[in-house]
């Protein structure tokens, strides 16, 4: 999607709260972040998503001021902060390890940043009390970090980072250390807090579900570059590359050749299958080798002979994994490739009668497929 220099709310890039311009960073000649340009608007919940080592944490650390870019500039609120040390930046960070001060109580941890601002005593006490309430830490004010549970420590780290009311809150894998149930609860708490404070949050995560759940916009990073920026839906439905498509959600990739292009539709001949599918053309050129991406839940599966409308392929069921709300089939196509299909189990006892070894037909509508060049 061509939306490179607009913010979440569609305003011009000049209004962006954070503007990252052509930023690069290398460690000992090994590039960590390469030529990243990105604008993030006021009030956004932005997720930097990517596998470990993709440069997302380095980018976040450059926003916090712990790393200096080799090239490019970082602007916050229109002001160039590229050379500003961390203790003078209007951002605060929540660390993956929480980095709580072990020799201070919960209240002193939260008050630390406020004291550095030189706020009056009673103002600090008020703000600490407010943060304690917000993070549901009442009764734990005098405890030391080592006397808290993992979830409580996580909330102290959040409260400490929020106490200074930064213009931007940076979160480095904030939920990675929590178990799954607590992580889900905390995700909704984070969204709630972000909405209530109207603050801009930038979160770094390798967990695509977390990014999809939390963020209003996602930047997918790969090998130090920003591969794609967009809303969760844009990223999911219109990935720009195989890597993005594969990283966000489950996907089937089918190699093949583009046939005739007529208007907005193009023919696609998958390798090893004697069919000619009609799919949305995009910018595909006739005769070009491309990859067709199909989400498992956009495929319909039915016993052979009961074919619906749309593009079709035939195969046999390799195995069927019953997940309760849905069933995940793996189907060996006639050409040899294996595709994954999700089938919703709308009614109780509904498994579709499809079992291992059964011949099936898979169909998908023209707009369900995405042609990918890279």
């Amino acid at each position: 999607m061509p939306e490179a220099r607009t913010t979440t709310d569609g305003r011009n890039a000049a209004d962006a709260l954070i503007s990252i311009r052509g930023v690069s960073k290398a460690y000992g000649g090994v590039p960590a972040v390469t030529d990243v340009t990105l604008d993030i608007g006021q009030g956004a919940f932005f997720a930097l998503l990517g596998p470990s080592g993709c440069g997302k944490t380095t980018l976040l650390r450059m926003l916090a001021g712990f790393e200096t870019p080799d090239a490019g500039a970082i602007l916050i609120g229109g002001e160039d902060v590229t050379a500003v040390p961390p203790y003078l930046r209007p951002v605060n960070m929540m660390f993956q390890s929480y980095a709580l001060f072990p020799h201070m109580s919960v209240a002193d941890n939260i008050a630390f940043g406020l004291k550095r601002q030189g706020l009056p005593r009673d103002e600090i006490a008020l703000r600490v009390a407010e943060m304690v309430r917000l993070a549901r830490l009442a009764g734990f004010e005098t405890r030391r970090p080592h006397q808290l549970s993992g979830g409580q420590r996580q909330r102290v780290a959040l409260a400490r980072a929020l106490a200074r009311r930064p213009r931007v809150l940076l979160l480095d894998e904030p939920l990675a250390a929590l178990d799954r149930k607590l992580r889900e609860e905390t995700q909704f708490e984070l969204m709630d807090i972000q909405r209530r404070l109207g603050m801009t949050f930038i979160i770094v995560t390798h967990d695509q579900d977390e990014a999809m759940t939390l963020a209003s916009r996602i930047g997918v990073m790969q090998a130090g570059r920003l591969a794609q920026v967009g809303t969760p839906q844009e990223i999911y439905d219109h990935p720009v590359s195989r890597v993005v498509a594969g990283f966000v959600g489950d996907i089937n990739l089918i190699e093949g050749r583009v046939g005739a292009v007529a208007g907005r539709m193009a023919g696609f001949v998958p390798d090893g299958l004697e069919v000619n599918w009609q799919v949305a053309a995009g910018d595909a050129q006739p005769g070009e080798r491309m990859t067709l991406a199909l989400r498992p839940e956009r495929l319909d599966i039915a016993a052979s002979g009961r074919q619906g409308p749309g593009n079709a392929m035939t195969g046999t069921v390799l195995d069927a994994g019953y997940l309760g709300d849905s069933t995940l089939f793996r189907v060996a196509l006639t050409g040899g490739a294996v595709v994954r299909v999700f089938r919703q189990n709308a009614r109780r006892g509904d498994s579709g009668g499809l079992t291992r070894g059964m011949p099936v037909t898979l169909t998908f509508p023209a707009d369900a497929a995405i042609l990918l060049r890279e």
């Binding site: 203790y87 951002v91 001060f101 020799h103």
Partner: protein, 295 residues
């Protein structure tokens, strides 16, 4: 805890035995001698407990013990000023060693991982030479025509050689140099385990580097600061070799007084009393400090 209570004493037995045999028993012997009187015999004090002489003699010997030596220690102004100057020199040396130790241990802990064992080795290296020889070497550096004065004059910083050798300054230099490794090692061990993201968090929350050091780093390594300071202060307070070699005739340190009393005057009881007073002067504040500040 409760489960191991039955066999816990077995684990504690070896260190307890060690402490009893090599610390408690010698201490009791010194304490007993400090309550005896100098005598022209061998050993040079009375009374002596003789197990063969029976209970009556034991009772008589016990009755002959007295606190006379402690009374003379307390009454002697010269001895008091020796204690005072020992403690002052030890305290000044400890503070200087702490500052230097931090200045060395901090960059050591931040050095690349693979260099750290080498750096630790370099800190320990001087200890492989004799303490006496290293103290002696300082004479060559500090004397009026020595390396230090030569370098300062060559640089044009001074015209006349400074009189450093045979002063308290030379004693402090010698003590700091000798005991610095014992300050660096605990500081380094503590700093090396330090999570650097805690320092980043402090900077992120608006603390300037100096504030981060005094509000975060120093409080977090406090146990190591206390340990290193004790390891420098305790031997420095009783130091004998360094003041003897580098100090002047007016450098009064209690270690020298004990030495002279013991070997020159052969007054073992008084020397023992001096040692016990030194022990309590050094240890009492240390124990109290520990109790008041549970880490």
């Amino acid at each position: 805890m409760a489960r191991g209570a039955g066999k816990g004493w077995l684990v504690r037995l070896p260190p307890m035995l060690w402490l009893v045999v090599f610390y408690l028993v010698p201490f009791l012997i010194v304490a007993k001698i400090s309550l005896s009187q100098q005598a022209a015999r061998r050993p040079p004090y009375l009374p002596v407990f003789d197990p063969a002489a029976g209970w009556e003699a034991f009772g008589a010997a016990l009755g002959a013990l007295s606190f006379d030596n402690f009374v003379s220690v307390v009454a002697d102004d010269l001895i008091w000023s020796a204690y005072r100057s020992s403690l002052v020199i030890a305290a000044v040396s400890t503070v200087i060693a702490l500052v230097l130790g931090l200045a060395i241990a901090l960059p050591m802990a931040r050095a690349p991982r693979r260099w750290q064992p080498v750096l630790v080795m370099l800190v320990v290296l001087p200890l492989l030479t004799s303490f006496l020889i290293r103290a002696y070497a300082w004479i060559a550096i500090l004397k009026p025509e020595g390396f230090l004065n030569g370098a300062l004059m060559a640089l044009g910083l001074i015209r006349e050689p400074l009189a450093i050798l045979n002063t308290d300054v030379a004693v402090v230099i010698g003590i700091v140099y000798s005991y610095l490794p014992f300050m660096i090692l605990p500081l380094y061990a503590s700093l090396e385990k330090f999570d650097p993201s805690v320092l980043e968090a402090a900077a992120d929350l608006g603390a300037r580097p100096a504030q981060t050091f005094f509000l975060i780093t120093l409080p977090m390594i406090r146990p190591a600061v206390l340990a290193g300071s004790a390891l420098v202060f305790i031997p420095a307070a009783g130091e004998f070799i360094v003041p003897d070699l580098l100090g002047g005739s007016d450098t009064l340190m209690i270690g020298r007084v004990v030495w002279t009393t013991f070997f020159s005057e052969r007054d073992w009881p008084l020397a023992s009393a001096l040692a016990i007073v030194l022990l309590s002067v050094v240890l009492v504040p240390l124990v109290l400090g520990r109790r008041r500040a549970p880490a």
